[in-house]
Structure formats: C-alpha cells, structure tokens
C-alpha cells in the first residue's frame, strides 16, 4: 500500500475525533459538572407557595369576628401587584402570552370581618409589610396586622407560608417526583377576645343620631373589656383587598378621623366626672366634713374673679352628697380652694390616672395633667395661681383623659381602690391598678355616686335602670366654639360592682341629658344579658 500518508491522515482523523470527544465530555461532566447540576435543578424544580392562614379572632361568645375568605392575588415578577383580583382581571392579565410570563395568580386567604365597622379601630386591619418591615425579615407576601388587635397580636395571628417543590417538565406539566420535601404552611394561632360584638352592635344603634363618640365597658374584677366602641368607624372589609389603598386614603383624609380609636387615643377634658378625684383628695386630706353645708347662688367669688356654676340660679344649700348628686360647681370651687393648686399637682403626680392603662392595643395615648413647669411656660411666672385650682377641681382645667383611663378610674372606685387593668385577650392576667385613697373615703364617694343616678335630683336620673342599682357621674366638657361633650361614667351593680361603663358623645350637649340616657340603655342591655340571669 503506497498511500501511507493518506491512510495516516484518515487514522489520525479518527483518533483526533475520539480524543476530542473524550476531552469535551470530561469538561462537561467533570469540570463543569456542578455548574450544570445546579442549572439542571433550576430548570426543573419550581417552588410553589402554599399560603398560610392568619389565625381567626373570636369574641367572648366564641363567635369568629375575623376569619378568611378566598381571593386571588396577582403577582408581577414575584411581587404583589394587585390584591383580590376578579376573574375578568386575571384573564386580562394572563391571556397575553407575554404578560403571562411576568404575572402569576394564586388563591390567597384574605381577612373577612363579619361585623364590618363594629369595634373596627380596636380589631384593626391587615396590609402588606412596609419596606422597613421586609428588611427586618418579614415575608413580603404575607399580610400583617397594621393596627388594633391585628397589629398588637400580629406575631400570634401571623402564619408562615409553606412551599411545595414541583418537578416541571419542559411543557410545564407537573411531574410526580419531588426534589425536596414539602414545607408545610403553618397557620397562625387563633385568639379569643373579651369583647362582646352584639353589645357593640347595640351601642352602634344607639349612637345613630350622633357623629362622634366613644364607649367603654369593662369588668374591673377581671380586666375583661366588653366594649371599646369608637365612632365614626369604617368597614374593615373595605380596607382588605381590592381597593384597600384608595379606601385607606379616603379614611385617612376624613376630617372626622375614623381611624382614631377614641377609646384609647381620644383625649377629652373629663369635666364634672373629675369631681370624683377632687372629692377623694379632699376626703383623704380631711378638708371637708360631709355634713357641712354651703349655700350656692350660682356663682363663686375668688379674689376679684367670679366663677360660675353650670346652673345659673344656683343649687341652694349643698353638702358633699348633694354637691356630687347635682354636680354643684360652687361646692367644688370651695373644695378646690381648700385643696389648693400645690396639693392638686402633687396628687396628679401620685395618682396614676393619667398614665397609659396598658391595654393590649398599639399606640395607646396617655392623659395630660399640668405641672408647675407647664403653667410657668404657658402663663408666665405670675400668670397663674389658685384660680387654676378651681378650674382643675371641676375638671375644666388643662386636664385631658382618654375614655379607657376614666373607665379604669371608675373600676378602681367601684372596687374600693383596687382593680384589674383592662385587657382584650381572654384569660390574660393583668396587673392591679390602685388608687392611694382610704377605703372608707372611697365608700363615702360611692354613696354620693349612687345618688347621682338614683337620687331625686341626680344629674344622671335618666341613666336609671329598673332593678339595677348604679353608681355614676355625669360630665359635660366645655368645647370652645362647639356644643359640649356629654359624658357619663358608672359602675354597677352598686352593691357588688361587676361592670364599669364610660360613654362620651362629642359635641352633643349635657352629660345628664345626652350621655346618661344612652348609658342607661346600655346598662339595661348588659343587665338583661349578663346580670339578671346569674
């Protein structure tokens, strides 16, 4: 064979191809193996989110007042694009093959609130976590509590989404094998509240003629809160899902401030209700004799100033009990004068009635009381004096309190100086709240408060409930330029108090005329549901 060269070329070609192939498969299978291995898993396994359910919330009658309904959530490149989309929207986003690569939809359990606007500020709503919260490690696709109970107990209510890892074939069909075991979604825990939503519904019906107000009902013996009602309110369902952003803006811009939980964030001058504190200070300090009478002509002279009674013609002969019963300002001007500004301010420091009650709600406000420093900056060094004490004594000074603070104060009075702090979560042990007054002095005050409702001249006669003894006090807080805030605070049954009620109707009128009758109806409702039967 003379074609040696050509044969060599041909043989070389075969050897060359073989060696080249071996090198190439060595490169692909060994050198770059890991790279391809990872990529191969990427291509095939798909992570599918299994949404967790947020824990349900129940009221004291074990009725679910926040649970879930199924909606559809539209994601754009893994981020929430639209909440609670309709089928038509899903179709319009997904029918285009290009956009269907970017958009995806999955069923999501949205919150549903059957009582809509009842106790809405107290229950609160959910929403997507903010940038900051995501940075802190919160799952961006999880809805978290934004206000109220939903926020306060978010960590309990919040679930943890799970994942399913599916092997997908090239056509997107699911293949039975699983690359990794499924991570089960963990649903949030359920919580039980002490609130009574039927009571809330009833209070709401009574508030129909009024625009703004609040109502607190709580059991001082256990701290259970039955009602934290605030008006105006909003439908929680509107702030969940589809149009939540627009609705939230609407509510935020509302001049009546529906988002404000007036029971824990509303600051009001307590008005005549504050006379219970004035009374207790005076009794504790031995500044009054309950049988000592004064004569009220409707005005009280102090230096060159004249302080008016709310009743122009005056109350006539007034002792401590009658003074409380008819809420005589002149009597309390005298008492306040005896206490003096210094003692008042000392007591304000000592009494914890202006502090936050510690209720399990976010953003509770503390009340406000003046100090020497406050007076000096406000009126100047010589711009204030004993005259301020007179105003403080009838609750018209610079004092501001939240409804829950007043309710707590009345709880302590009802139970002779010591009661449980309010709490919305069932069976949660709370601390005691104590008033630094002697038991017998509180007893004297309570007798007076009994007369406020049951007495012939009592300012809160209209709050009376047949068969139920009630201790209470009306308050009418002056509201410059507008009608007064009508208020009423009470405890009942009088002999063995179980319930405390506080109610305010903003810009409505006198406490005895507006607030007391409303409170009477509420107390009757509670009496019939809870007290009468037991």
């Amino acid at each position: 064979m003379e074609k040696i060269f050509e044969i060599k070329i041909l043989k070389f070609f075969l050897y060359f191809v073989t060696v080249l192939f071996l090198f190439k498969i060595f490169e692909i299978q060994i050198l770059k193996g890991e790279f391809y291995e990872e990529k191969a898993i990427e291509v095939k396994s798909k992570k599918i989110r299994l949404p967790s359910k947020r824990g349900r919330i129940f009221d004291r009658s074990k009725k679910a007042i926040a649970y879930w309904r199924t909606g559809f959530r539209l994601l754009r490149e893994g981020k929430v694009f639209l909440e609670d989309v309709s089928l038509e929207e899903i179709v319009s986003y997904l029918e285009n093959p290009d956009s269907s690569k970017i958009f995806s939809v999955y069923a999501f359990p949205y919150r549903f609130y059957p009582y809509k606007n009842i106790y809405a500020q107290t229950i609160g709503f959910t929403g997507l976590p903010s940038e900051k919260e995501i940075k802190e490690g919160i799952d961006p696709l999880l809805r978290i509590g934004k206000s109220g109970i939903e926020k306060f107990y978010d960590e309990i209510l919040r679930g943890k989404d799970g994942y399913k890892f599916l092997l997908m074939d090239a056509k997107g069909r699911v293949y039975s094998n699983e690359t990794r075991p499924l991570i089960e979604p963990v649903d949030g825990e359920e919580i039980y509240l002490t609130l009574d939503f039927e009571l809330g519904k009833f209070i709401d019906s009574l508030f129909k003629p009024y625009k703004k107000g609040a109502c607190v009902v709580f059991k001082p013996g256990t701290g259970e809160v039955l009602a934290l009602y605030s008006k105006p309110s909003f439908d929680l369902n509107l702030l969940t899902g589809k149009r939540e952003k627009e609705e939230l803006l609407k509510v935020l811009n509302d001049t009546l401030k529906p988002l404000l939980n007036r029971t824990t964030q509303g600051l009001y001058p307590p008005g005549s209700i504050f006379k219970v504190i004035t009374s207790l200070i005076a009794l504790e300090e031995g500044l009054i004799d309950t049988n000592e009478f004064l004569f009220c002509q409707g005005k009280y002279r102090f230096g060159d100033r004249v302080f008016k009674d709310w009743k122009e013609e005056g109350h006539g002969r007034v002792n401590f009990f009658r003074g409380v019963e008819v809420s005589c300002d002149v009597y309390f001007y005298e008492v306040s004068k005896r206490i003096g500004l210094k003692k008042f301010l000392e007591y304000f420091e000592k009494l914890k009635i202006f502090d936050k009650t510690g209720i399990d709600l976010p953003d509770e406000k503390s009340g406000f009381y003046p100090t020497i420093k406050f007076y000096e900056t406000r009126y100047g060094r010589y711009g204030y004096g004993e005259g301020n004490a007179l105003n403080l004594g009838i609750g018209q000074g610079e004092i501001l309190m939240t409804p829950i603070e007043i309710a707590l104060l009345f709880g302590a009075i009802a139970l002779d100086g010591k009661c449980k702090r309010p709490c919305l979560l069932e069976n949660k042990e709370t601390d005691y709240f104590e008033l630094p007054f002697k038991r017998e002095n509180i007893g004297i005050l309570k007798r007076a408060l009994f007369k406020v409702v049951q007495g012939e001249e009592g300012t809160a006669r209209l709050a009376g409930v047949r068969g139920l003894a009630i201790g209470g006090k009306t308050g009418t807080a002056q509201n410059p330029g507008e009608r007064d805030h009508a208020q009423f605070a009470s405890f009942f049954p009088f002999e063995h108090p179980e319930y405390v009620l506080y109610l305010i109707v903003e810009e409505s009128g006198m406490g005895g005329e507006i607030a007391a009758p409303l409170a009477g109806k509420i107390m009757k409702w509670i009496y019939e549901k809870y007290i009468k039967s037991s």
Binding site: L14, T18, F21, V43, L167
Partner: protein, 395 residues
C-alpha cells in the same frame, strides 16, 4: 494476520455491545415515552443481528451491471419518496413498515460507488468531476426531502474516497482548497491567511504546470469570495438566519440552542458515575428532546456518567478503527465498500456526538446502533455483516 482474523469476532462483539447499551438506554427512555418504543427497538435489534450474521456468510461479487441496476433502483426510490404529498418526505410506507429511504438505499449506493471508484482508472480533474456527479445525485435527492444531515453523508463519503483514492495530489488539493476556502469565508482574517499561504504554496510549486496553478488558484479564491456574496445578497433573511443558527446553535434561542443546553444539563448533572440506570430525571421530564434518537447520547451520559459515556465513545472508536483497518487491508472494490461502511458509521458518530457536545452543528443524525431507528439499525447491521464477509477473502 492473526490480528485481522480476530477482527471478525471483535467487530461483531463491539457492534452487539453498543446495541445492547442502546437497548438499555431505549428502555430507560421508553418509561416516559411509552413501551412501544422499547418493544419495536428490541425487535429491530434481533432482526438486525440475524441479517448481520446472514450477510456475513455470503460472498458479494463485483458485478458492474448489477451495481448500475441497484443504483438506478435506489435513485428511483429516492425520487418516489419525494413525490409524496408531505412536508417531510423521508419515509416509505410498505404495509405496516416504514422505511427511512436515505438509510435504506445506502447498501446499493455504497455498492455502486465502490464499483465506480474502483473501476475508474483515469486520474484527472474530469474524472473527479464525473465521480462527484454520482455523489451529487443522492445528495440532492435526500437534501430535497429535506434532510441535510443525511444528505451530507454522500459528500463526506466523496471526501473520504478522494483522500483514499489514487487521484494525483493536485486533484485532491483542488477539493481540499475549495472546502477550506468555503469554510474560512466566514472569517476574513482566516480566509486571508489561508488564501495567502495556499496561493504561495501553489504558485511556487514546481510540480504544478500553469493549468494546475490556474485551477488551484480558482479553487482557493472563488468559493470563499462567492459564498459571502450569495449569503448577503441572494439569500433571504430567514435563510441567512437558518444557516447562522445551524453553524452556531447556541445563538438560536428557541430551537437547537435550547436542545443543546438541555443536553448539556443532562450530561453535566451526571458527574463521574451518573445518576444510575432509570434514574435520569432530565430525559424523563421531556427536557431532553429526542432522548431516544438524536439525544440518545446525553440521555445515556446522564444515567451512566463520565465512565459510561467515555466507555461508549471508546466502543465506537474500537468499531471504527477495526473497520478502517479492515478496509486498509482489503484491495480494490471491497476496500472501497468497507470504507463506505466505515464512513457511514463514522459520519453518524461525528455529527451526532459532535452535535450534542456543541462542537458541530446539529444535523438530526441518529447515533447508529445506539439510537432508536429501525431502518438505520437493520441497514447498518447488514453493512457490518457484508464488511465482515470480506474477511474471508483475506485468508
């Protein structure tokens, strides 16, 4: 001589071993593609082995007239299949069987071409054109099916035969230069380097007369210059794209590029020892396209790893080396015939594995003996049998 006699057994052994590995792979693939695939393949396997033994016992004669008749028959078959009203005209259906015609006619065409190359004693330019014509006829007919991959075999065979033949160097150079001129026309720098060096070689070579020099110069320049012109001005956009994607499939986002990537993912995720028999996930999820035919090799590599795939390549190397050795030890017609068989299997080995490894364009050629495909398997079994039958003549 002993070495040569061992060839008989070794050729059979290696060819059957490759086929058995192929059966394993088809079995694994058929679990997601359907069992029919496996049952069909295993019956072709037995038919092929049977034919291979039968044909190894016969004696083929050099019968010129018969070779013309067989070639004419093959050409008629290729034309006949083109007359059908289908988009892809590769199959000839005879009752229940369907034949892939471009494979089926291979024994006839190899027989005829071996005869032509052996009988043609003149060794000028004209003779080479004459021989090229007979390679062109089946090439064009198969190309029209359209099956560029299978058609390419006939041109490849021309190159191998030419190299192997007794043509003078200048004739061989004419084709070699034309081929490289065309190849390098895609890159101006490469084309310039190639053309300058080869022109210098041609012009200052005393062995060539003026005519030769003119011919060779044209071979160096014309293909390289005309092809870019045709490419840019005559071809339409989609045709240009098709050629570019063919040459560089990784650029093709949806078609071949995706397939090659998936093939690599399957191979690359296997490691040294592979995922284990029947445990390949990539092919079972249909990510691996044509895991039974075009992508049989990555499918096998996924389950048996680097060890398995290099072993398979080694087996092909053994088979091809033995065929080549056999061809080189034979004389005349039989030498060309065996070389034709070698070329057919080598072409499939080169383009299929080269394609899935991303070294060559994807052509859709199955890996002979390993991939699924009845016609291909049985025909090549027969060709192996015929090749083995020539060993007797060496004794």
């Amino acid at each position: 001589m002993r070495n040569i006699l061992n060839l008989h057994n070794r050729l059979f052994f290696v060819f059957i071993l490759i086929s058995i590995l192929g059966i394993f792979n088809i079995f694994s693939v058929s679990r997601s593609f359907g069992e029919v695939l496996f049952i069909k393949h295993i019956s072709y396997f037995f038919i092929g082995i049977l034919f291979s033994f039968l044909f190894s016992r016969i004696e083929i004669r050099e019968w010129k007239e018969l070779s013309y008749v067989l070639f004419l028959f093959a050409i008629l078959l290729l034309i006949f299949v083109l007359l059908k009203e289908r988009d892809v005209k590769r199959w000839l259906h005879i009752s229940k069987f369907s034949l892939q015609v471009s494979d089926a006619v291979k024994p006839f065409i190899i027989y005829f071409l071996s005869m032509m190359w052996f009988k043609n004693k003149k060794r000028g330019y004209g003779d080479s054109f004459y021989l090229l014509l007979f390679h062109f006829i089946p090439f064009v007919l198969v190309l029209l099916e359209p099956d560029l991959g299978s058609a390419g075999y006939f041109i490849f065979l021309f190159g191998i035969y030419l190299l192997f033949s007794e043509f003078k160097l200048k004739v061989k150079l004419l084709y070699i230069f034309s081929f490289f001129s065309l190849l390098f026309s895609f890159n101006l720098l490469l084309f310039l380097i190639f053309s300058i060096f080869s022109l210098l070689y041609v012009i200052f070579n005393a062995r060539f007369d003026t005519g030769d020099k003119l011919f060779l110069t044209l071979a160096i320049i014309i293909p390289g210059l005309t092809f870019p012109f045709v490419f840019n001005n005559v071809l339409k956009e989609y045709q240009r794209k098709r050629i570019l994607y063919f040459l560089n499939p990784s650029k093709d986002p949806k078609g071949a590029g995706w397939q090659i990537l998936q093939g690599r993912l399957a191979m690359g995720s296997s490691g040294i020892f592979g995922k284990g028999f029947l445990k390949g996930t990539h092919k079972s999820l249909a990510f691996l396209p044509q895991a039974h035919s075009d992508f049989a090799f990555p499918s096998f590599a996924e389950e048996f790893g680097f060890i398995g795939s290099s072993f398979l390549i080694f087996l092909y190397f053994l088979l091809l080396r033995d065929l080549l050795t056999l061809s080189l030890n034979l004389f005349g017609f039989s030498s060309y015939f065996v070389l034709g068989v070698f070329t057919s299997i080598f072409y499939s080995f080169l383009t299929n594995i080269g394609g899935v490894l991303g070294l060559l364009p994807l052509t859709g050629i199955p890996l002979t003996f390993f991939s699924y495909g009845g016609t291909n398997f049985v025909i090549h079994s027969i060709l192996i049998g015929l090749s083995v039958s020539f060993i007797k003549t060496l004794k």
